[in-house]
């Protein structure tokens, strides 16, 4: 039986069926040039928990046609796409805290899983949507490296642009 193995950064190994593994563009491309049944991918930057989450996503979406058709579109095309529509299963699946979401985002980027990557971006956007910069800062636990003057200047410049409701 054909099986692909992923080795995580913290030393775990996860075995995945071929049709699930090829959801990742990297795996797919590799297998196209090196046809083999057995193969191990060392993921230096993805830990066990993240990989399990990503594999769960890959299993759920392995038969979806749009995963295949998702091409390497240019950034320009993407910026035109203002839709933040998401599959409800995905929306629920990604109901995680920001740090885990960032890990998934990173993993999706390294493994070249476009749709998952996009959905992570959308999720992060949805988390920060409608919040003020202070709230966003709290949410993202960002360090504040602005001086008070900087902050005042920037707040003046951008907050007045925000729509008054």
């Amino acid at each position: 039986m054909s099986a692909i193995k992923f080795e995580t950064s913290d030393g775990f190994t996860i075995q995945v069926e071929r049709e699930t593994a090829v959801v990742s563009k990297v795996v797919k491309n590799f297998l196209e040039y090196h046809p083999t049944d057995k193969c191990t991918f060392h993921l230096n930057c993805v830990d066990n928990a993240t990989l399990r989450k990503v594999v769960e996503w890959m299993r759920h979406h392995k038969d979806d046609a749009y995963i295949e058709t998702e091409s390497d579109e240019s950034d320009e095309e993407r910026s035109q796409d203002v839709s933040i529509e998401m599959d409800p299963w995905d929306a629920n699946f990604l109901n995680e805290d920001l740090f885990f979401l960032l890990d998934i985002l990173n993993a999706a980027n390294f493994m070249k899983i476009k749709v998952l990557f996009k959905n992570c971006c959308k999720k992060i956007y949805l988390m920060s949507k409608g919040k003020s910069s202070v709230e966003i800062k709290r949410l993202l636990k960002e360090r504040c490296d602005f001086t008070d003057e900087d902050l005042q200047r920037i707040a003046n410049k951008y907050e007045w642009m925000a729509r008054v409701n």
Binding site: F41, H42, V82, F99, D103, I136, E142, F146, R153, R163
Partner: protein, 464 residues
Amino acid sequence: MHSLTMREPLSDGGHSSQSSLADLPNELLEKVFLFCDGITIKRLSAVCKKFNTMVINLSRLKDVWKKCVFTEIGKEIADELSRYCSGGKRLDNSLYLNDFYYKLYVKWCRSLNVGKWPSTDTPINGFFQNPISCIKVSGDLIIMGHKDGCVSICDYLSQNIEIACRHIRMVTDIALIDLAGQDSYSIFKSRVGAISNHHHIVSISKDQNVRVYPIQSASIMNKYSHLAFKPASSELNYVRVFGEYCAIYANSMKIFLWKMSLSSPGCVDVNKPLNFSLFAVVTSPDRLPGWFNLWENKVRCFCAGRGILHEINVENAYSCSSRRLRLPRLGTGPYSQYISRAFVLRKKTIILVMVSGLLYYSIDGETLHDFPIYKHFTSKVITLALWGGILALGLECGQLAIYRCPTISDLALLHDQKPVYKLHLDRRDEPIISLDIDDYGKGPVVVAATHNAVSVLKWFSSDD
């Protein structure tokens, strides 16, 4: 057995847990940002220095502001704010600079700050000898039409008034032309360097003449640059300009349409007249007086008599489609008994003022809705102006009321809102007869006129 090692391209992170969004490599962060809407992007830029730099670079490189314009403002208002320009400035044109969208967006945002920012009110009095009949504003200049037939230009910074043109009888309407699509023009020579957003004026009067001339004082104007013609032997009621089209509504129920062009494309030469070529003459479908507006290449004409809205496509002067507005039950007689004024605005908006003082509005050009904001005032609405996010109403008692109306659909939400700004223009309770709104470069400017007095209201931001 094959094996592949995927390494993180940047070695600093190693393990990304316990990290924050700011620890993402720039190219990933940029991708996340590209999914965000305008406001969120702006707010993200105020979170930390890294985000700020990212957003500044993004807005230069990507279409952040274009996105803001399309998702928040909507095409109709965006078209309006692009100052009725045609010169290569159409919204679907990819030749647009990103900078253009930024300016447009800022203009819109600023228009929402009426009543929130500090304002200045400059009253200009002394028109008792020469009452005003209509008024327009363009940048730092006010263009006034008078009852004696004069058109005067006043820069409200120094309050210096100069005559630009003399008709024989009362000036009925004025429209301003910007064909070159530049940001501003300094054709009018003033001591304080006042600028305008337009370069030519078209004025019509009861003497049936149309006159077109640059925004200059008559004393220095080259007589060859002045264009005068008489399209019909009837009074001319309204003139509208949109981009390269100019439309005039004559009392004989005729609508004249011209296509305008500069003598040398893209370059304003005040010594040469504009080219006016008659494009179409359309007989208004109803033999009753009406109101009209020009938007893009469509004339919409509202005839009070039967309450019918006609839409005339300029591209094809022979086809004229009429659509009936579903007017609410108003009584039995003809509608003209009930409608005192109609304001045909933008692409589809109509606001009707009834004789009784009631207001109706339509934003789709099909259905009319009750507009109960008249309950906020004790007197009737005489004139109104809609620009960007501002709705200004001029009342019979001389009061000016300004509402915030960010998008077209927000008109429906004004019911339970109070005006953000109110001003009593005239001590003698003269009605406000004319209103206009424009952008002076740092914020919105609203001018309101009674027959004898003009008031200029400017809002300015503290950050400039």
